[in-house]
Amino acid sequence: MSILRLLGILVVFLVWSVHACAQCPMQEATVFYVNGVDADIKSSEASRSKLEKELFVRFSLNPECVLVKRAYNASATLLPDLVEAAVQKTQEINTELSTFWKLYLRAFSASVGDALWFTAMVRTAYLGIDVTQFVIQEQLGRHMELYRSELAAGRQVILVPHSQGNLYANAAWNELTPDERKRVHIVSVATPSDMVADGGPYTTLAEDGAAQWFPFALPANAANGEPCPDPWYCHGFREWYLFGSNSRDRIVDRIVELLPQPSITGSIQGTLHMPDGSSVNQAVVWLYDSYGDFLDRFVVGPSGSFFFEGVDPCDCVLYAALGYWSTTHTVHVSAGQTTGVSVTLDHLAIPM
């Protein structure tokens, strides 16, 4: 009974696996959003969710094949320090503490409400960070576990770090083995660093004031062409980088380019018969595209079978001939699929 049960489970697992593979025409991948210091746990989820939506809505990706997760990077003492500064400052200027949170979380931009004190406070805190050292090894270690877990499951990994998250992504990539590096890529956003570890693409907006605070950072290479309310707001991943169409397209397009590409060609599996239904022993099958251009030819074996692979999607035309017998047959070829055909030589004709 237990053996039968085990066999049952095995069958179900195999069927499920085949089904899962069939669902994913490409190799599976996991995109990790790695937040910067300018976020709390909930803001990072908002960024992840927005990134996921942009990817799936624009590219019709299969959510069973491409996962979008986040590797959270807590800001160590930066947020607690900012809160302490905010408690003092809001008491000093007789403002509600909730005003600090609205600005910090970017519920609106700092220019609203004449809150220049806020941007000055954040700028001071940011400039107090040594960006080359601001990687907490314990957090980095956990991130490595997350990435390696995905790799072990056969998935490709794409890191999308924002702001200080870039330091974590670079450090993580540097710790990977050469084999692992082939399957891990970085799409950098608003980096304070002077490099992207895997040499991958980056996007830094000209209007992002915070990114400009770091003099050795990679220079701005894009602009959204819209007036920026304030530097802090325009450093935001969801609020500004995914909001402006230029930066959003750059980021999302780069991610999709790095996804394992699905098979873009199809194939034809066919059998050739004589008019009486018997197998064809010797014959040649030619393959033409819908414009009549020659693509390939196949000499059929004793069983009459033939096979064309690497065929671009088309409504192709098969032409088969044996002696004075010949035929033409139209076949629809789809990407990533094998089309089965049965072709019968049915009339006497003069070969082409």
Binding site: F32, D40, I41, K42, S43, S44, E45, A46, R48, S49, K50, E52, K53, F56, P63, L67, V68, K69, R70, A71, Y72, N73, A74, S75, A76, T77, L79, P80, L82, V83, E84, A86, V87, E96, L97, S98, T99, F100, W101, K102, L105, R106, A107, F108, I136, E138, Q139, L140, G141, R142, H143, L146, R238, F243
Partner: protein, 299 residues
């Protein structure tokens, strides 16, 4: 002779001091209980009676012959007082129940209506000056202690505004024990009076935040709570737009973290989560992360 004059002046001063002191003390020591009248919300068209207490904590009996209970401010049209409730005398230490009758008009909008109940002394100027030109004048003086009123008019049942008392500790006041702080429950209702779904989604979020703050000093629980969090993605489904939902969420979070203690605890708890990996709701299945039946609630 000089001595007698000094004694007379001194005596007069003492009497004057005692008199003014007694009046002052009497004025200062009429106390309302509770110190603030803020009942649960009342729906438009609803009438209800409430009992408050007026206590004489002064040094002497208070004669109420010329006293009236008056309601002022925006609440005046909604609140009336049973005048018969005021006895002729209120002895030292005595407490008198006063009934406030609140009647909300049918067409009253959702609002917070404020005012105050006070004890007022009316003196007939006619008696002092005699009738002049047939006019009848009264001058009034107020006792120092008043009863502030805050009425919430809402068709959505709401707890009273906890005011400053709601900011005294980390978790605030949750008088109806629904897992949402009273001030936040009111905030949500006033933000979205017409959308039951949005209120439900924000309430789910506020409940999670309350638990997050409650456990914020425990690293393991904080991590577990963060992984169990579902309300944010539910909000995205209900609002139908991440950016719109985020603006709403962040403004509410700013209200939740409205004290130094709450802000510090939240910031510290956030540091516990570094290095953790998180997944959101499976794409297209955000609705399943709502703790309520989205389809049956009115939008």
């Amino acid at each position: 002779m000089v001595m007698n004059r000094k004694i007379a002046v001194g005596g007069l001063l003492v009497v004057l001091l005692i008199f003014t002191g007694a009046v002052y003390a009497s004025n200062a020591r009429m106390v309302w209980l509770p110190e603030r009248f803020a009942p649960d919300s009342l729906a438009p068209g609803e009438s209800k009676e409430f009992s408050v207490t007026l206590q004489n904590k002064g040094p002497s009996t208070l004669v109420t012959e010329h006293l009236r209970i008056s309601v002022s401010g925006d609440a005046a049209p909604l609140v009336s007082v049973d005048r018969r409730a005021l006895p002729r005398k209120i002895k030292r230490g005595e407490s008198v129940p006063i009934t406030l009758m609140v009647k909300v008009p049918e067409d009253a909008p959702m609002s917070v209506v404020r005012g105050e109940v006070s004890l007022v002394r009316y003196e007939d100027e006619d008696k002092e000056r005699g009738r002049e030109n047939g006019s009848h004048k009264k001058k009034k003086s107020f006792f120092r202690n008043v009863l502030p009123i805050e009425l919430t008019v809402s068709s959505i049942p709401l707890p009273p505004d906890p005011g400053e008392a709601g900011k005294r500790d980390l978790l605030g006041i949750d008088s109806n024990a629904n897992g949402v702080r009273d001030d936040i429950e009111r905030y949500i209702a006033f933000q979205f009076p017409d959308s039951e779904k949005r209120r439900a989604a924000l309430s789910q979020y506020a409940q999670e935040e309350q638990v997050f703050l409650r456990d914020a000093n425990d690293k393991e629980k904080t991590i577990a709570n963060a992984h169990a969090s579902k309300a944010q993605d539910c909000m995205y489904y209900v609002f139908g737009d991440i950016d719109v939902a985020e603006t709403v969420r962040k403004k509410m979070v700013s209200e939740i973290l409205n004290t130094p203690e709450r802000s510090r605890v939240y910031a510290k708890a956030d540091t516990f989560l570094g290095g953790q990996g998180f997944e959101g709701a499976p794409y297209g299945q955000e609705k399943t992360w709502c703790s309520f039946n989205v389809d049956v609630l009115a939008d």
